[in-house]
Structure formats: C-alpha cells, structure tokens
Symmetry: D2
C-alpha cells in the first residue's frame, strides 16, 4: 500500500473564474490516478492545500509528523516546488526505514501542458523501487534529500554539488 | 543515459481526419518528455510503428536485437499493450546486465484522457531505480517479464500467478 | 429555444479501449454547452448515433421528419461530415419557415485537437442570426444547402460553384 | 474578409512557470482558427494585451479608432470580460455601417476547460450573419451594445433590461 500525502502546490492550483486568480479546491490526485489507470493499492490524504512559499514552519512539521505516523512504509508527498527541497531536508533524518518521495509540478495539472501526470507516475514508481530514504522526484529523475535544490532561474531541480553520480 | 526504443502501439496512434481511422505518424515521445520537463539524458529511437497485434516474429526479434545492441544499460520500450507481455518474454533471458522496461497506453496519447504520460514517467523511473531484468510498467506498477499478462477483459496488467509478492 | 438534434458522426466518436476502435456512447453536446457556458435555452435530443457513411435512406428521412416535427423554429443538427451535404439537400425544400444548421467535426470532440467546440459555437450562432433556410456550418462559415460539398481531398467544405457570393 | 482585433483579456492569459502568475505572451487566436479549421479569409491584429480591468481610457479609444480605421466591414474584437460591455458602449455609436462583435472567455484558452474556442466560433459567425451594429457574443448568444452587462456574481452576460426581445 502506498500513501499519498497532498500538501497542494502548483500541482493542484486551479483557475478561479470569479476572481481571475489561482486557488485550491479539492486535490486532483484521485482523478490523475484514474487517468493513469493506476491499479496498485493507494491511500490519498490531503494534509493541507498551500502554496509552498506560504508553508509555515508549523505546517512543515505537520508534514514530517504525518510521514512518521503513516502506517505505510512507502509515501509520496505532493508539494509546491518552491520549498520542496526544504521539506525534503526536514524529512531526511526523521523517517527511518521509510521511502518518502516528494513531487510536484511546474504547471498546474488543471492546465493543458502540465508535468503533473508525468511526475506523479514517476514518483509512485520511485516510491516502489527505491530503498529507504527521502527523495525529490522531478524532471524525470530523483534526487536524494541532502543533495537537491531548485534552480529558480531555469525552473528545474538539480543536485547541489557539481559532481553528479 | 537512458534509451527509449519506440515500437508504436496505442501509445502513439493518432486520428487520421481523411480516413477516419487511427494511424501512426511520428512518435510523441519527445513531446511527452518536454511536457514532463524531463532533464535526464535520454536518446529516443523509433524502431517501428506498429499495432502490437500486427507485430511479426521478425519484428519482435528486431526489438530484442535493438535492446541487446544498445550502448545504454537502461532501456524503455514503448509498445502496444496487446502483445507487450510476449515481447517481454522474448527479451527476458536475452539482455543480461540490462534494465529493460516496457510500457504503453490503453488510450492514445493524442487523446484527452490518456494514461501515456503517466506510464512514460513511471517507466523512466523504474528504468533508473530497478536492478537488471526485464519488466512491464503499466497501471502504476511494474511486473517481472516472467510473471505478467494482460487481462483483456478488464484492460489491465496483472501477475500470472494469484499469489502476489 | 434552440433545438439540437444529434445524429452522431465524427463529432461524437470515442476511443474504445477494449477494442481499440472508435465507437459511440452518449453525445458530448451537453458537456460542450457547459464548457462554452452557453446560457441560451437549448433542448438536446439524440436521434441516432451513426457514422454518416452508414446513414441509411430511412435514417436520413428520420432526420427530416424530426426537423419538421420539432416545435422549435431554430435547429442545429450534429452530423457526420461525409454525407452532411446530402442530408442538407434532403432538408432543403422540406422545412419551410425554419432555420436548420448542420454541423459536425473533422476530429472527434473527445480528442485534444478537435474543431467540435468551435463548430458548435458557430452553428448555434448562425441558427440565431440567419433567416429561414437550411445551412451547413463548417470551417468557420456557413453554406446554403443547395451550394455545398465536402472536398474530401482537403477535408473542408466549399461551395459547389466556383463563384462565391 | 473578417478582421480580428486582439486586446488580450482572460481569453489570452497564460500560466507563467517562473513567477506562478498569469501573464500575456502572443495571442492564441491564430492557433484557435487552425484548430477550428477556419477557412474564411481572416486578418488578425494584436492591438494590445491587457486585462480589461486595467484598460485605460486611452487604450479603449485606441480600440475604437482601430475599428473605425479597419478596411474590413466585419470585425471581431477579443477582450477581457470585465469591461467588455464598456468598450461595446464606446463603440456603439462610432462605427456606422460596420458589424463589430466583441467576445472573450471566462477561462483562459490555455487551460483545459475554456469557453474560448466556443466563443470565437460564435463571434465569427455572428460577425458574418448580423447586420450593422455592435454586439457582445458570450454564453452562446449575442447582445446589442446598448443592452448588455456582465453579471459578476454569476460570471455571465445578460441584457440590462428584464424584458428580453
């Protein structure tokens, strides 16, 4: 059984007609799992729906507590990309024996050209195949929690250190 | 470097206006990698564009030869779902030391409700994380080549033996 | 009140996963009206769901009878493009005082790159603005029933006579 | 020949990955005309790309001047919905002999669930079928410039006076 913990982020943003703004309603993860015809046992829980730039320290601690408390050993966390690496570092040493994979999207799933579905498939697979640890799955690959950063200028995730394994 | 070998299948079918039929033109894999904002080194080659129900024994042998001859150790093969398990079995004992992951789609990527993007993200991730072997990545998970079948009635992939690991 | 009579055609075709073929289920017209946020009074009736190449003489007569019998003065008929001009000619002299606009799509609405939504908006507008007569609304404009043909090579509708009004 | 004058609005907004905001780049109108397989002679000009809430009096006068100066008799103006009725009133008495149809979208075309394509097909058709005047084409129908308002609470366009023609 894989657990998916939803925290929001660009992944789940929607266009709100009345205000012309982007906002959150319900997560799209169940709909995306249906689209991907995912047949593995998955449990989806929405912890919060926030833009990760607005994620408070208390909210970040809630994410860590939820991962620690989860009955499942394999967890995917959907998260805004702006502070995803920060949450990965908060989790890194705190979930021994578990496989936690954080993912998100650069473009909301509700839009036509989103990386959301690709990233969800990627994260779910890494969560099944990797050994215990905390990872960020973005841009088609995965990064260990202690060697990842978001390159804001280019909008992609990279290892911190120049030498790539 | 990951190699993607394209063989066609529902994954790449398109609607042909003039005839009202489904047919193949160029593969959509490069476009899907762009949509997923994939940044890992990938080389895409189109071996053929066939509906896997029409894949001949000679064509299936070509797929095996291409996997064996590839410089890359990690390979994703896009394939029609109808005989994907058959090609997986042809590959099983023949690509020692390599990680080969076959994937496809139940609905053409060109359509609005396709599992293609999810499956490609999934397959690319399994290709990076698994150890040597041949696998089918469908429905959000992966199956070993010697224990997979397509359940045609339900349109999903399953293990052959009732007892799941 | 505008009446929409659905007869099927490429407009409403869907991809059927189990068979890999295109087939009909329920019409998408109500969903398209919602997407277009249409607020005019409209009544949708499904007469049949056929590929217009397979429309029999009896079925074509049913379309004519339904248009004649409709309480509404303004009618949109969704139809396969292959014999749309033929049905327009069958209707031409038989619906005095009514405005009947036939439309369809070159690519199924269920696909990503369909002209269906554009054509439906177009046909509904012509049905409101034109005077009594029978018309084909395709390719962003409309044609009178007695001067229209489908150019099969190019997949577009044109006037029969070279001199355009 | 129909002229399309683009002023921006929600119709043409896009999601900007780097900032997470909605912004304008190039208009999508040519792409939408291709999708709709429009074959009538159309000339597209971008006057400006603004959210209509930010349209200044000077910019609104530019729209009026452009409609007056256009060689074409039939004009479609794409516009933000928030002050579309205001621009319609500015145009109303100032474009004698011309057919000017304003349209827009409640959801950006770049999103999956947009009314943009439907509205463009609708506006182009009204522009061809109506007699001289200025109109707003939204929600599947059209309104005369001197009897239209945007009902902000419901996000739809309506006649001002309760008695509908």
């Amino acid at each position: 059984m894989i657990r998916i913990l939803v925290t929001g982020g660009t992944f789940d943003k929607e266009y709100q007609e009345t205000t012309g703004r982007l906002s959150f309603r319900r997560t799209h993860v169940p709909e995306m799992l249906r689209l991907g015809r995912a047949r593995l046992p998955v449990r989806v829980s929405t912890l919060m729906m926030v833009d990760s730039l607005q994620m408070s320290a208390a909210q970040r601690r809630r994410v860590v507590r939820a991962c620690r408390a989860a009955a499942e050993k394999r967890i995917v966390v959907t998260h805004g990309t702006d502070t995803m690496a920060e949450t990965a570092r908060a989790l890194g040493p705190r979930v021994p024996g578990k496989i936690v994979v954080l993912t998100g999207a650069m473009v909301p799933y509700a839009f036509g050209s989103s990386d959301g579905l690709f990233n969800l498939g990627s994260a779910l697979s890494f969560a099944q195949a990797l050994g215990p640890g905390v990872y960020v799955a973005m841009n088609g690959t995965c990064f260990p929690w202690n060697d990842v950063r978001k390159n804001r200028a280019e909008g992609v995730f990279q290892r911190r250190r120049r030498s790539k394994a």
